[in-house]
Symmetry: C2
Subunit: 457 residues, 2 copies
């Protein structure tokens, strides 16, 4: 009872107590209780619930509750389990759920399915919607054309506020969400837009063209969705008309879609930097997880063997002074960390377009200076450690010198590698740890052992 | 001339050609040309321009152009240079610029300034605005109360669509951006909201209470802004009323502010993971950059020395078989990379709340299995390398065994460390590389050299 009250207090929240209660209801095959617990949840939370429970529980839950699932839940589900969920549902249920959705959400779901499932879902749509979805799928993947909704609210240039309001009152099929009335010329080219706030607060006889927003911008349907998201964030847009190559209006993108893309781009950068497949998800199964991570680790394995070969060249030196073996990972590790710092800042700044050809030279110079300063500071510390800890002032000096050189190289590599990748047309986050840390590892071992073999042995 | 045309073609874009032309105009002290080049830019792009040029150029530019700067540019500037810019501008210009802004933007600027500058800016505000700003600053840092705008559009519960529209037409001071009319009861408690789209498309005699949105939610002014941003993203909100502890309406947060917070949270996670101060920016000077990075590298230095101590314990073993020195970094490096993979996925999933107490056990179990699978695969490869490359099947076996153990530990540590930090109330990204890679380094060296000393020597 006490537990029940907690769950019901936060009426619409998905908390651990509710998840437990839901799993108990599934276990007890109590469909009434299950519906009672899921019913008040937002579609996004139902999707989270399905992602968080194990696949056996998921199957059982869907079996008991499948009739109730709506399109929004499918739309919110992570790609990693969406296919599984769709497959486990009766076809009529999926068809029914899909039909409720706006075309841009249908496109989003279809993109990630395999061909037979795509076909089945397309067949379930009404003719007009199917054509709209197929047209959207004709635009390149990750383009504005895939992201936009085709339902737009437009008015001719010469209309007044009163005419626009009367038109809206008589429209049967307005989009769920719209924030502007877009003004178009006779050839369907958008010429400006008025916010609904301005429309509502202006007198009926005011001309729409006199209350247009300064912020007006359009995007072309083939533009990359990442660029669109950047534009929304940079210019604080709330919606943006999409035009075809001829400049004619074909749809509109709203801020919630842009926010979603921005979120995905962030996630991608973060995962790529860590050397994890860009589409990894916490709800992936074991097979998908291994497949996402193994290749990156394999590349690192080759890189690490390269380091081993470098070290192998100095086995005579190490035999002569075995303390070198203990100290060499310090130089490499510090280089790797400093390189990762520079790399992360550079990748982030490239993503937010704060690092451009206008300031690249200055940024690289600053990184180099920072690397040198840190290098000198750590060199001083490690020279002391080498001297006092290992009883050899010369060992300390070699350690310090290697530190300075490697910090400098790390700072440069961390900035130049992503800049170079960007220039060459790759995702700069792709450099990940691997590139930069291989460089700093190999270089760190080489400089330290090389100097040691010259000076100490 | 050709260059001029390129610049003018993209009339409102900040590209490299324009930056160059602007710097030339500054150099030539050509104020007219400078104004011509900056004038068409969006405030956000002017801010980017100021961030991207060097500080000497920035001073010269502001000196020539300062009269024109408006509040939006100050508001868009990165914190790292905002203080410098404000200090270099004449006081009247700053006062004038600040007065144009909405109170939430003023709060955003004030937060990061030191006390004397804060005082000067507060003095420049009109009385009503100053009170509003001071009230906002009374809310905790990074809370909804700091984020909200106080300008709200409300209507009594019993109003009709017609009454609301008439009221809006007669209002003198509507907010720049608003997307809902909020219904309040006589005690100022919000009871629901209607989108402007519904308002515009409904007949005048319809009651507002009959066109309310299902999505209605409120936040308390003291709630963390990160939670607010999560809510906007999760539930696709466009605006959200903010209430005080008594449930009375005190302001509203709009999606553009939430998008901004989401963006900052991402940046913070990414920078923390890489061991960079969370407020680092590409436009930081050398001193701030060193200050942001040194402490993290210093922690790593201590950790690396720990590894060195572990290795030092096995100097006898290494002397006996110097190939161990070359191979040991492979075990450590692979562990570090695998740990970083698990860590990044876990930190991201905690941020998006996809990793919760409901699925933590299952995720940890999966990570452990993935670590074992990868470990066995790499063990097989490295056993071959040890055998064929270094001519010792036993060395290969030791290498393989160490690999399996360390991959397993890395997968566990990468997931458990951020889970533990989150549970203990810290930012899970704080674990950064350092925690996990120290663990995998120390452990990797220990297992490999320990096994080698038992089996091989």
């Amino acid at each position: 009872m006490a537990e029940d009250q907690t769950i019901l207090q936060d009426e619409d929240e998905l908390n651990a107590a509710r998840v437990t209660a839901i799993l108990e209801a599934v276990e007890a095959a109590d469909a009434v209780r299950l519906a009672e617990l899921i019913e008040p949840l937002h579609a996004a939370d139902v999707a989270d619930l399905l992602e968080q429970i194990g696949s056996a529980d998921r199957r059982a839950l869907l079996h008991m509750w499948s009739g109730e699932i709506d399109g929004d839940v499918l739309s919110e589900l992570d790609e990693s389990i969406r296919e599984e969920v769709i497959e486990s549902l009766p076809r009529e249920v999926v068809a029914e759920a899909i039909r409720e959705l706006d075309t841009d959400d249908v496109v989003d779901i279809l993109e990630d399915l395999d061909a037979p499932q795509q076909g089945r879902i397309l067949d379930a749509l009404e003719d007009a919607d199917r054509v709209a979805v197929e047209q959207a799928l004709a635009y390149p993947e990750d383009s504005a054309g895939r992201l936009m909704q085709r339902e737009v609210v437009v008015a001719p240039e010469h209309w007044t506020v009163g005419e626009a309001i009367d038109f809206l009152r008589e429209s049967e099929h307005l989009p769920d969400q719209f924030y502007h009335v877009i003004l178009i010329d006779p050839r369907m080219k958008p010429v400006g837009y008025a916010t609904l706030g301005r429309l509502l607060s202006s007198r009926r006889n005011i001309r729409l063209r006199d209350i247009l927003e300064d912020s007006f911008r359009t995007v072309t349907a083939t533009e990359a969705e990442a660029d669109v998201a950047y534009m929304f964030n940079q210019y604080h847009l709330i919606s943006c008309p999409v035009v075809d190559a001829g400049g004619r209006l074909v749809g509109v993108i709203t801020i919630d879609d842009a926010m979603n893309v921005l979120d995905e781009e962030h996630e991608e950068d973060m995962l790529l930097l860590a050397g994890v497949g860009e589409e990894s998800s916490i709800s992936d199964g074991i097979y998908d997880t291994v497949r996402g991570r193994f290749p990156w680790l394999f590349v690192n394995l080759i890189a690490a063997n390269l380091s081993a070969l470098v070290i192998g060249q100095f086995s005579g030196t190490i035999s002569a002074l075995v303390a070198l073996a203990a100290l060499m990972p310090i130089v490499a590790s510090m280089g790797g960390n400093a390189g990762t710092q520079s790399l992360t800042v550079a990748v982030r700044a490239l993503a937010t377009r704060d690092l451009t050809s206008s300031n690249a030279v200055r940024v690289v110079r600053r990184e180099a200076v920072v690397g040198l300063i840190n290098g000198v500071a750590f060199a001083a510390i490690m020279a002391l450690v080498g001297w006092l800890g290992y009883g050899s002032p010369m060992l300390g000096a070699v350690l310090g010198a290697a530190m300075i050189v490697n910090q400098f190289v790390a700072a440069l590599a961390g900035t130049l590698v992503p800049l170079f990748l960007e220039r060459a047309g790759f995702d700069p986050a792709l450099s990940s740890g691997t590139f930069v840390t291989t460089l700093t590892d190999v270089f760190g071992f080489f400089v330290f052992l090389g100097l040691a073999s010259m000076v100490l042995i």
